[in-house]
């Protein structure tokens, strides 16, 4: 669920080779440390050594192969469907700019939907088979592709568009001749992040009662306390994610030719008075579109009233007219429990990401070594990490907070490293002329340059943190809104489930908006060039 897409700019081969060497050495050291640690913890049922993981993979080869094929194929179908939808909607927004706020608002709502609740709902609606996995994979990639693509379609010099207008041609020609081709690097960056997201969606879909797949095996291994198999599954999912990320990245670089962009998905900072009004209009139109899709879906799909809850029903739940507020009170109590995990985890992840990025920049050569590892680990889906963290740290609060922090940490680190590197060369030169101390350069040039990237990561980390906390509550702690959703799903309490979906989505979107508002203020002050 990360939208800070970054692709490395082609560098001269010698430093690249040096970085690769340092990176490889880092991986080897990490593997050896892992092996030693695992052997010293033998019998504690927490950590499987790399050798044990390899052995487990070999022992269960055919089983894992079939599971991977099942998960991979549903993830791929979802990937194609979700990305097609994203491309079509981005094209609509480019041809008809008025629709853009609705399209992005709707996309935000989709990304804020709690998978823990939507997954079982989709299982009920779509039945056994691959439907839910494909739907969840599609929903997971939709946002990660749409946002960079919109940035790319917009990131065109005005004079290119003037050329089209001077020839008396309209927005459609501009889209076909200029914008589409110019957005290819951005599309590639989006697809790159979408690949691990599709795997995540497919695996969560499998958790809700699929017959085959990596998700099914993960649940089984986790329940049986099969440490070796849990780590083997996590390793496979992680490797597949990283491979997909790397391969799509390579294809993207080959196809786009030019220098791949850094996409921060920064919001367009509208100038002055109309900003609040336009933001509110966008939010209202997105909510209306969501309600229309929701209600229309119930009617069109002819969903049984036993399952279906209309917007009116949900209003009744929160107004307390349906059950005297019992469901509402349970939801808010659970949300309070969740907040205890999510707030410290989110802030810890942000702080750790910024701190490590700053430390790395201060140590020459370190970022070359850390960056590839961080980029790779960032693409590991949360459903893979969660069982491991549970094994390592346990089912308590510390484990939950750690998991949220980890989910926030990697995107923040990668974004901040990119931002810190983007300090304008001339500003750095001026400081070098005055022999400024490294910390002063950091404070005056690099950190201001980092702010846009940091805020983009902080904003996108809100839905990611909510996803993380609900998943960990469901799989591990058994408390909070995540567990409540899982329980409601298994008890067929559709009042609670519908209420939870609306509540979690609203809170998540609200958190995103709050961070976005802080971002707008800070960037207007420290990075006015980001304002358009």
């Amino acid at each position: 669920m990360i939208v800070v897409a970054t692709a490395r700019i082609r560098r001269p081969s010698a430093p690249a080779r040096r970085d690769a060497t340092i990176g490889a050495v880092g991986v080897v050291i990490a593997l050896v440390a892992w092996e030693v640690l695992a052997r010293s913890l033998e019998g504690a049922f927490v950590l499987a050594a790399p050798t044990a993981v390899v052995a487990a993979i070999i022992d269960n080869g055919p089983l894992l192969g079939r599971a991977l094929a099942a998960t991979g194929s549903t993830a791929l179908i979802g990937f194609v469907i979700g990305n097609l939808a994203a491309v079509l909607l981005a094209a609509l927004a480019a041809v008809w700019p008025r629709s853009e706020r609705t399209v992005t608002g709707l996309a935000l709502i989709v990304v804020c939907l709690p998978l823990v609740a939507t997954a079982p709902l989709l299982r009920v609606l779509l039945g056994a088979g691959d439907g839910p996995q494909i739907a969840l994979a599609a929903l997971a990639v939709y946002y990660t592709t749409l946002i960079p693509l919109l940035v790319g379609l917009r990131a065109v010099p005005d004079t290119w568009l003037d050329l089209v207008r001077v020839a008396g041609r309209g927005t459609l020609t501009a889209l076909i001749v200029v914008r589409a081709r110019a957005s290819v690097p951005y599309l590639a960056a989006g697809l790159q992040i979408a690949a691990p997201a599709a795997l995540l969606g497919a695996m969560v879909g499998e958790f809700t009662g699929a017959e085959r797949g990596l998700g099914v095996l993960t649940i089984r291994a986790s329940r049986d306390l099969d440490v070796d198999l849990t780590w083997a599954l996590a390793t496979i999912a992680a490797v597949v994610s990283m491979l997909a990320y790397a391969i799509i990245g390579a294809i993207g670089r080959a196809a786009s030719g030019g220098q791949p962009p850094t996409i921060l998905a920064a919001p367009r900072i509208a100038a002055g008075a109309g900003r609040l009004r336009r933001t509110l209009t966008g939010a209202v139109s997105a909510v209306l579109a969501t309600v229309a899709l929701w209600w229309g879906g119930i009617v069109l799909l002819n969903v049984t009233p036993f399952v279906a809850r209309t917007p009116v029903d949900v209003v009744g739940i929160f107004a307390g007219t349906r059950d005297n507020g019992a469901t509402r009170d349970a939801l808010f109590a659970a949300l309070g429990d969740t907040a205890v995990f999510v707030a410290p985890g989110y802030l810890a992840g942000l702080a750790a990401g910024v701190l490590l990025a700053v430390l790395i920049v201060l140590v020459p050569g370190a970022s070359g070594a850390v960056m590839p590892i961080a980029v790779a680990l960032r693409s590991v889906p949360i459903v893979t990490t969660a069982p491991l963290i549970v094994l390592l740290i346990g089912r308590g609060a510390v484990g939950a907070i750690t998991l949220i922090a980890v989910m926030v940490f990697f995107p923040t680190l990668v974004a901040c490293l990119h931002g810190l590197r983007q300090a304008p060369g001339q500003a750095l030169d001026v400081m070098a002329v005055y022999a400024a101390a490294p910390w002063r350069v950091l404070l005056r040039a690099r950190i201001p340059a980092m702010l846009p990237a940091f805020f983009a990561a902080a904003r996108m980390s809100v839905p990611a943190a909510v996803l993380a906390v609900t998943v960990v509550e469901w799989l591990a702690t058994g408390t909070g809104i995540g567990a409540l959703m899982a329980r409601s799903a298994s008890l067929s309490n559709y009042d609670a489930l519908a209420g939870a979906v609306v509540l979690v989505t609203a809170v998540s979107a609200l958190g995103y908006a709050v961070v976005g508002a802080i971002e707008t203020r800070m960037l207007a002050r420290y990075a006015p060039e980001q304002a358009s």
Binding site: T159, D162, V166, A167, G168, V177, V178, R181, G257
Partner: protein, 263 residues
């Protein structure tokens, strides 16, 4: 009156003004006429609104007051027939297209049909023979600017608008382009409007120089600069024109009133 495709168009700017939504007063009501087939230069200090005036003539900006007519029609109508071309300060070549494909783009956009011979001829004219298949990234700034001018000429426009087309290239290249390129658009009788802040360039390229005041732009002087071509050497006559333009500019900076000065 069916316009002859090759004949230059006459432009009538009638009290056109531009105030941006943020309140910036870019162009005060301005009236001027560009005669068909002639090259007119708009000279003025940076940010005086001369580019805005050009963009209004191109139909890229709507005047907030007054009117712009090209042979009596709205710029939109002329745009749609592909009779209008603009070259910007930035060459604005599409980086994924080769030089030839960038030049051909103008004809594609104007729905004039492919004309490979015309593209090849233009590439030769602007001195880019041998670079047709290259991408813009492989060219120097001056070469890119030549390609952009070739693109503007590809449709044989009736009205050619040049917005500081030599602004982003180095001085030597600038002088060379200013020497070589006018022959390209002067041959066909195209009406040309050149926006520049270089006095020497204006005198060298134009038949007539209009001097604009600082923002909001008003006409300070209208100086016919008919000199024999080619104008490779700057003679005493050209120097006299240059002095007249500089004086008008200085008057404008001192806040002097608009006067119509004959050359």
């Amino acid at each position: 009156m069916a316009p002859d495709h090759r004949a230059g168009a006459a432009v009538q700017v009638d009290a056109a003004s531009k105030v941006y939504p943020d309140g910036t007063d870019a162009v005060a009501p301005i009236t001027l006429a560009l005669e068909a087939g002639r090259t007119t230069a708009l000279v003025g200090p940076s940010g005086c609104g001369k580019s805005t005036l050009l963009r209004m003539i191109a139909g890229l900006e709507l005047p907030t007051g007054g009117d712009v007519r090209i042979d009596g029609e709205h710029p939109d109508a002329v745009q749609r027939r592909g009779e209008l071309a603009v070259a910007f300060q930035d060459p604005s070549l599409l980086p994924w297209r080769s030089v030839a494909a960038n030049i051909a783009l103008a004809r594609e956009l104007a729905r004039l049909g492919r004309d490979d011979a015309r593209v090849t001829e233009l590439i030769e004219l602007v001195g880019l023979t041998g670079f047709a298949a290259m991408k813009p990234a492989a060219l120097s700034g001056g070469m890119r600017q030549r390609a952009a001018i070739a693109r503007a000429l590809a449709t044989e426009p009736r009205l050619l608008l040049l917005d500081e087309p030599f602004g982003a290239v180095d001085e030597l290249t600038r002088q060379q382009l200013a020497r070589e390129l006018p022959a390209l658009w002067q041959g066909g009788g195209t009406t040309t409007l050149l926006v520049t802040h270089s006095v020497a360039e204006a005198v060298r390229l134009a038949d007539r120089v209009i001097v604009l005041s600082p923002r909001p732009a008003r006409v300070l002087a209208d100086i016919p600069t008919e000199l024999p071509r080619p104008r490779n050497d700057v003679g005493p006559e050209a120097e006299r024109f240059e002095r007249a333009i500089v004086e008008a500019l200085e008057r404008g900076r001192a806040g002097g009133d608009a006067t119509q000065t004959g050359g």
